[in-house]
Symmetry: C2
Subunit: 162 residues, 2 copies
DNA sequence: TTAAGTGCAAATATTTTGCTGTCAC
DNA sequence: GTGACAGCAAAATATTTGCACTTAA
């Protein structure tokens, strides 16, 4: 009886095993961090969290493992509009792609799943005869809350747009 | 008699004048580079080209000017799937957004304008009540040519997908 | 005149690499 | 046993900043 496709704990580790990729204590820690992360961690955060599980985890191992996960299409790399610095954020790839929206005023990141997005990608594949492996749609602007407060008051100091 | 809206040389400089932004010889050089660029320059390339027009242009001025242009929505910042290194690419914002597709095998960048993309953004604005200022859709995968050659021969050594 | 802009050098931030030793299989 | 993986330190890459001087408006 097949297990459900999404959110299964240990899915990343299972992937490694299936593909014959060697498992180490350090990788186990990093994979667990990625599996249990609620959202959008950058390399430094992943390092810190992984070190709590295995204090020997080194920064370079984090980068090497992230590269491995990326190459295998198991995680996605995001910019989130570079709201803080020039680094990248990572998230597990689960199910269908979603759009990331970053509020340039309050910094909130929201996500949006849209059938139109899937259709758009299908159109690209067909019209451009391009085989899509990764796709990233990131949007910057003002979220509903900030639009409201912005139009009413110039009182609360907005975070400067980058 | 009004000049055409697109591709008008000096358009960026005109923008600066309209908005009362101070013009300097260095900025003039950088703006000219952005205006005449065929495509997708990174900061180092912009620096080199600008220095040919005004040898005094410094790297920091390039970064400062790019930030200014970004803030004013006159250029877009791209990753192009980080095919070479972690830097960014810049292009003038002209007319409607386009999708960037990066071939992970041959490195070719292609572009695609799609009405569906515009509709998708409209949907996001409405459904999420989010006011979009910038959007970036980048796709990585295999272009038509590489799909063809890849399925037939393992002869030509593919550029490794990072 | 003077606020804004600049070059220069140094700092910061992020990611990668070389090397040598270790460990999973 | 051995090839893949690890830590460590140092390098490479990309971008930003502090400061004193210059310049556009």
């Amino acid at each position: 009886m097949p297990l459900p496709q999404t959110e299964m704990p240990g899915r990343l580790q299972a992937h490694f095993a299936e593909r014959g990729i060697r498992m180490t204590s350090q990788r186990r820690a990093i994979l667990r961090v990625m599996e249990t992360a609620s959202k959008h961690l950058d390399a430094a955060q992943i390092l810190r969290k992984a070190q709590r599980l295995d204090s020997s985890v080194d920064r370079s191992t984090v980068y090497r493992t992230l590269r491995l996960l990326k190459r295998h299409g198991l995680i996605d790399e995001l910019d989130l509009m570079h709201l803080n610095g020039e680094g990248h954020y990572y998230e597990r790839r689960i199910g269908s792609d979603h759009i990331h929206m970053a509020c340039l005023r309050c910094g909130k990141i929201s996500e949006f799943v849209s059938a139109s997005f899937e259709r758009l990608k299908d159109q690209v594949e067909k019209d451009c005869r391009f085989h899509i492996l990764v796709s990233r749609l990131e949007i910057g602007g003002y979220c509903a809350a900030c639009r409201a407060s912005q139009s009413q008051s110039a009182a609360s100091p907005p975070a400067p747009p980058r």
